[in-house]
Amino acid sequence: MSQTIKNALVAALMAGVIIAPVFGLQILRRGQETYLQPDWKMIIGGMLIIFVVQMLRPLWKRRKTGTKRLQIPAITDSIRRKVILVLVLFALVWPFFTGRAQVDIATLVLIYVMLGLGLNIVVGYAGLLDLGFVGFYAVGAYTYALLYHWLGWSFWEALPFSGMVSAFFGYILGFPVLRLRGDYLAIVTLGFGEIIRLLLINLYDFTGGPDGVSGIPKPSFLGYQLTRRSLDGTPTFHEAFGIPFNSEHVVIYLYLLALILVLITLFVTSRLIRMPIGRAWEALREDEIACRSLGLNPRNIKLSAFTMGAMFAGFGGAFFAARQGLVNPESFTFIESALILAIVVLGGMGSQVGVILAAVLLTVVPELAREFAEYRMLIFGLVMVVMMVWRPQGLLPMKRPQVELES
């Protein structure tokens, strides 16, 4: 019975976390100031409903299945495809019906999903503990920022380069750490992350040092800028389409762009794990000596994991630079690395759905609990400890995409 109450309480809390940002917070404008007004009736009501349902569930379950445990029906491929399609459609339509702040937070979540999926390749699949992942994120962001600053490149021109430069850095930095494993690898990669940050601070003439690069333009839509006034005389988005200017357009556009990048990342990573290279990553994680005895070159396998992971961080970084309009080394501290790693570990190493869920949790909750900002790291640490005790395999542990043998 106490187990049921505990479950119900946890479920209600989770429901609260989910309900609050989506329905429970309204943005009010009074004169100059903007308020977030929580709709407590909605939040508490929703939590109560979940609590009651959870309390009643065991009764219902026992009656229905007898002594057997309730099992989730096997999801066939066609059902899974439909579910994914519905979710994607929802994610596409959603921003048009909510407020600007929600869409903005959702965009941030998507950036972390992309980073989490990238790191997931290195940590979850290949089993290489990388504590300096933010370095590649920084490289991606600065690649776009500097290409714009020095050469005037647009986002779309710089995006592939950001990925490539980051991947190249991943490749280069992968070399010295090939012989290292576990803790030693973690420490060296931690050092790399810091080295990149310090370089960005100290190459003052090139990177702008602690001030970074500012005034980075947002991505254009088919060549039309989403600004109020055109910067270079070409027609802007609202002029071209003959609609009044609305500053929400650019927020929604950025969100949709992030969504597309995430979908591409999801697609590529989920394909990779079903390909020989993905299997080699997993085999390497399981047993490096056995890999070598079968003729697999651990060097290439590790490097490919590092490179792939870094590439996605680079795309994420370029997008981040475009969204912020400003990059400086402050954004790429070790805390960011820790956060991305926490997303992967919390979600369940190797699990893509887990990464998405954890990215949502770890980005949305701190945004909501801004009053507790000083306690953020404390709570963060507590959550990690609790997770390791209760659910070391993560929220949604990886279900391996096994190659099935039809009999």
Partner: protein
Amino acid sequence: MSDTLLSVSALTMRFGGLLAVDQVGFDVRRDEVFAIIGPNGAGKTTVFNCVGGFYKPTTGAITMDGQPITGLPSHRVARHGLVRTFQNVRLFKSLTVLENLLVAQHTHMETGLLQGLLKLPSFRHSETEAKQRAVQWLDFMGIRQYANREAGNLAYGHQRRLEIARCMITRPRLLMLDEPAAGLNPQEKRDLQVLIDQLRHEYNVAVLLIEHDMSLVMGVSDRILVMEHGKPIMTGLPDDVRRDPRVIKAYLGE
């Protein structure tokens, strides 16, 4: 084409002050089962590790089919057609049985990144082919019904057979088995002997074997090298080895 497949000469391996292997030399012919026996600590596994590229021998020369492989890293040795099993089975435990066999074909499956990402026909084709080859070996080993299980959950005897299948699917010329009968029950040991015979006759693979189980060694080997304290005592036919006083002394003492 000479008759010798693997040739090891004057192999010495020193770990600091310990001389683990001292001037060991032997040849393995094509289609031969060659066994190395000796008491615990005689240096048999060290010889294996030197030949397989896991240790860099202090001195000595190893050639595979005439090509020198001394000191090559193990994954390059493996590409010369020389693969091994391990004393304590080393499977990819959380991968399925089938996937273990697919990973082993990695070096033979050169599919490009793009073909795989877009699931082009060439990718599907090579995947299907790899699967079929895996299934053939699972059938051969009699473990097909476990194909979708995690390898770590198999019974120990089946894990041993899977490890051998994983070696064989790389199409080796020399199969090195490090105590393959350890932990097997009497029936499984008899099956293993049949299996080794089959592998050499049907798949034309030479076998280099380390084993403590004398009935298996005597039953399956063509020639035997006896080692003690890192030194070779003798090389000979099973019957000669069985009767040799030096060997008896090494095993039973004075």
